[in-house]
Symmetry: C2
Subunit: 315 residues, 2 copies
């Protein structure tokens, strides 16, 4: 067993969070992760409040273990979802793509454990002051919306900046990444790409097949010009997007419109031409569709073996 | 003591390489690192062959330990330097910014240990086939010329792709990064930014002061449009460069010309306005000017403590 303060705090068996992947991380995936001893997380993405509420009600029928909801703060529905999750008293919230400060008081009064995803030590300090229970320091090698700092550089700097527990996300696809995260000062990890190919994940089979076929160099970040880059597999869509991004005759508004709906096309329709298949740089490390329990056992088992055997490197 | 096959192979005490920083990594710094038990490396950058030869002769007067030379393969002087280092039979060569294959035979015949810096598992496989003794898998969080993949994602994927030893570079500023690198599958590390502020480093004092003052978010990569992005501290120069880079009326030729000489201005003149202060994302982890021996002792000591105590995370 891995010893971690985040397990004690949340009442979970393994310090492994499943990333809140929009259009992908639904109640089925979250329940499977929570039932396997990790922390399953329902993504709210840009979904309306009723959809997220439906997923919360569903996950409660599938597991009696703690689970989380990820609030994408740039969503137009974020304020409504923020209020709903407080009423629902979900056990854990993670937040991304924005500043959760305006909602922290409401959530704390509802007894919710809030764990923001942070891209820098400055933001980590800010959310600590607002009452965050922990932070997830996410490096830009992750899939979806990404920051500039990488996990290797970010985690120790966040660890030095705050007193609350730090989890690491981005670049973690197996037990090597998990063990490395502990060395960097994290007490747990969040994985997205690895769970995306889980048997319990309802994402379109084409999406899984593309992740399983990917090599290390097969992702790219697009949308830097818009100020919120997104990492996804290199496809016709991303190449077209990158080309438009470097074309000065294409306005930012047109570029934003171009991106809208592309993740849904990938996740729901498996549209290889117009879909945006978000994925992290560890896609090249993911070689098999497995059950969530197999993934967690394998990753945690490898990390345990590395950590318990690490003294062999010291004579 | 850290156990590492790269130490046995090269006859060095610690598996710590000093990065081949152009205009910065001279014979004085390289000798100090080699004398302290690491592998000091003279950067050739864009320097002409006589300058590099002078540094090689000088380092041999300052240390009897193994040292290396870094060949920047994009340099117009690369072919001449490649021939010269073979004649000089330097112990170790690292290569960057290109494919070393055309020179491998010459270097191997001279008995040189060649360790290319690689940005992907494909390039790692390629240089292994050409006879590389090891590879340095360098993540894009490093300073100077950077690739896309980050250390956390890159190192395990390179490790899986090749049979030769793998060192990690990028994002390593202290013993936490070094210990993490071992977990990811590396048997050693290369550090640049941390050695840049060493007392024995002859870089301009303003450069050191800027590194010491930097926070985690204070670097950025520019030059993506030119196909060879460079990470440096955010300054007037980099902001100007980024602005021109997104200005379609500025040609690539003009952009290249803009960058020329900027590193020299930073490293030699300490020019805060027109200089390009290359640095990695760990600049925010570097807090003191220390001797090379103090740096190595501190980093290796911290890594040893983490590795020997890692079993405490497993119950």
């Amino acid at each position: 067993m891995i010893v971690s303060e985040i397990c004690d705090r949340l009442g979970i068996r393994y310090p492994v969070f499943q990333g809140g992947m929009a259009w992908i991380a639904d109640a089925d995936l979250a329940a499977a992760v929570s039932n396997a001893g990790g922390l399953g997380i329902i993504a709210s993405g840009n979904a309306p409040v009723e959809v997220v509420l439906g997923q919360i009600r569903r996950v409660r029928t599938l597991t009696d273990q703690p689970f989380g909801v990820n609030i994408m703060l740039m969503s137009p529905f974020a304020p409504a979802i923020a209020a709903m999750v407080a009423e629902e008293k979900v056990p854990v919230l993670t937040t991304g793509a924005g500043n959760p400060a305006p909602y922290m008081k409401t959530w704390q009064e509802a007894g919710i454990t809030v764990i923001p995803v942070v891209p820098s030590s400055g933001i980590a300090k800010l959310v600590e002051r607002c009452g965050a229970a922990a932070v997830i320091a996410e490096g830009g090698e992750s899939g979806g919306h990404v920051g500039d700092l990488t996990t290797m550089a970010l985690v120790p700097q966040v660890r030095d900046a705050v007193s609350i527990p730090v989890l690491a996300a981005g670049g973690i696809g197996d037990g090597r990444g998990m063990a490395a995260a502990f060395m960097l000062g994290a007490c747990g990890v969040q994985m997205g790409t690895r769970f995306l190919v889980a048997k319990e994940c309802n994402v379109h089979p084409t999406y899984k097949a593309k992740i399983l076929a990917a090599k290390d160099i097969d992702t790219m970040a697009t949308g830097r010009r818009l100020g919120h880059p997104v990492r996804s597999l290199k496809t016709d869509f991303t190449r077209m997007f990158a080309q438009k991004e470097s074309d000065h005759t294409v306005t930012n508004e047109a570029l934003e419109a171009l991106g809208g709906g592309a993740l849904r096309l990938a996740a729901v329709e498996g549209d290889e031409h117009d879909g945006c298949f978000m994925a992290g740089q560890v896609a090249g490390l993911v070689h098999a569709e497995q059950t969530v329990a197999e993934i967690i056992d394998e990753v945690v088992g490898q990390a345990e073996a590395l950590l318990s055997g690490a003294s062999r490197w010291v004579a």
